[in-house]
Symmetry: C2
Subunit: 113 residues, 2 copies
């Protein structure tokens, strides 16, 4: 193994999450992905809107093995309901970033006992 390979091996594979804002209604998180980095498997407890900051390509890996590739375009948002479960990977060859706006609801904030 060359030192270059060693360095590559040690590179963190997790995308970087930056909390930009949170209040009783929303949580706003910016995600930055170097090529090949991923969110890790997660379940969306809240509905959310994604606003891509740049163009790019992501693949969502579901627990059942399904892979869904999506082309992102800067400023072309999309909305998803709660319940989705996946690992999101930057499968493009350039840095990628989007802002995720999670929408809180009364029910989600205070589930019935």
């Amino acid at each position: 193994m060359t030192s270059q390979e060693a360095s590559t091996t040690m590179t963190d594979t997790t995308a970087r999450a930056t909390l930009q804002h949170e209040d009783e209604r929303v949580r706003v998180t910016r995600w930055d992905f170097e090529p090949g980095t991923r969110t890790g498997h997660h379940r969306h407890a809240l509905a959310y809107v994604v606003v891509p900051v740049v163009d790019g390509t992501i693949s969502a890996f579901a627990a059942d093995g399904t892979v869904t590739e999506s082309a992102l375009r800067a400023g072309v948002s999309y909305a998803r309901p709660a319940g989705g479960e996946h690992d999101v990977v930057n499968t493009g060859d350039a840095w990628l970033s989007f802002v995720e706006i999670e929408i809180k609801t009364d029910d989600e904030r205070a589930p019935a006992a």
Copy 2:
């Protein structure tokens, strides 16, 4: 007046609003501003999050004459409560775009009689 001036005079001064998504929780609108174009005076009935798509400069003109200039950075969002009232103008020299996510609440959807 040259034909170029005539053409400029006839240019629409209103920013372009594109509804990207709406459901019972959110309304997502993309705004595109050529230099000098404006939203027109409006009041925010809903709290909102803005995600700039590109860097730029906007000025918000309040009804009382106050002008607030803000530098926008692509992917650096900000959140504002309901109640704000202003006319937003692209005072930079380049095209500018942001995505606005308005957050609906039970109260705002069904105001008390």
